[in-house]
Subunit: 202 residues, 2 copies
């Protein structure tokens, strides 16, 4: 399969790209804000440009970044609404375009996250992730030509926690997260939803 990985330069995206090539024998097109194929989900026109550049593809994966911790009453709009344009609206713009661009029977795999929290500062994350969590199954039923739409909620990645000096055992190893994406792309699995448990941090 020819697969576009958006966010290919991040921890999950780079490991996913390598696995798709090495184990899956797939052709991977690496896309991110810095290239090699340039796309910024916050700029819908860049999504069209990406599809124009890469031609017909069998699968698209978006490994989107997370939002910011910001209390409901104590942050600027810029801090509070971080993730709106890219993670939330960007993945919807991508879905709307992918419905026309992905090959028959192909797949689009989005990235979501935990939407129920007990710590403060996560009301916007709850909005974005809870919204996407309802969007994906509803939109999936409308995707044309047998295109499958799924999402992965990777939660905290063990390797990311370790880079932050925290306990990696509290997260999910990147290899396991990658496996969830691969199974959805290849149509053999049901993805991964990580339940709350690791306190988020700013």
């Amino acid at each position: 399969m020819k697969i576009v990985v958006i966010g290919a330069s991040g921890t999950i995206g780079s490991a996913l790209s390598e696995t798709l090539e090495a184990s899956g024998g797939h052709e991977v097109v690496r896309a991110s804000r810095r290239g090699p194929v340039v796309v910024d989900l916050a700029r819908p026109e860049s999504i069209d440009e990406m599809f124009d550049a890469v031609g017909t593809v069998d699968a698209v994966v978006a490994v989107a970044g997370s939002g910011q911790i910001a209390r409901i009453d104590a942050s600027s709009d810029e801090d509070y609404f971080r993730g709106l344009e890219g993670k939330m609206l960007g993945q919807i713009h991508l879905t709307r375009r992918a419905a026309h661009r992905i090959a028959d029977g192909g797949s689009l795999t989005l990235t979501n996250g935990i939407s129920t929290f007990s710590e403060p500062g996560l009301s916007f994350a709850a909005l974005v992730n809870g919204g996407l969590g309802h969007f994906v199954p509803t939109a999936a039923a409308e995707m044309p030509r047998g295109i499958r739409l799924n999402s992965v909620s990777p939660g905290w990645v063990a390797e990311t926690l370790e880079k932050m000096g925290r306990d990696g055992a509290q997260g999910t190893p990147v290899a396991e997260v990658v496996r969830a994406y691969v199974e959805l792309i290849e149509g053999t699995g049901r993805g991964l939803v990580v339940e709350p448990g690791v306190p988020a941090t700013s």
Copy 2:
């Protein structure tokens, strides 16, 4: 109590305003895009202007409109994203400002809707309503000074269905919807969540 009703000119908003005055003995400030107090949730600065104009209030209620039916792959961005600025982001802008403006121990009551659908054309409604459904309890835990944050999901109102020439018995009478808002404002109830069942229509 002094209560601002945003969306006071609509079916629910006008009935709610009358009930709050007649049965509750409350002072109601009617706000909407057309006035008498002007506010447009899609323009955050108008929310500040509204609070400046009305002074300290004990409660704010937003009776927000619904979105549009639009398939994931077959509508303009303008049609598809209807409700983003007003219903979704607008109610969040309102919440962020209300946290500073509502009196100690007061309340903010938002309007949400069904977020799980089996009919096509409702993926954006699922996003907005599912997102708000996760936002409200998370933000409620962060509201300062004892301010309560709740939402009502009125679903289809019987009187609205009848105006559309449909079977009113499939909806909830406006008086029952109004009672749910009043109970949340007065702190005596738990609101109303209407389950799916009435097919949406464009």
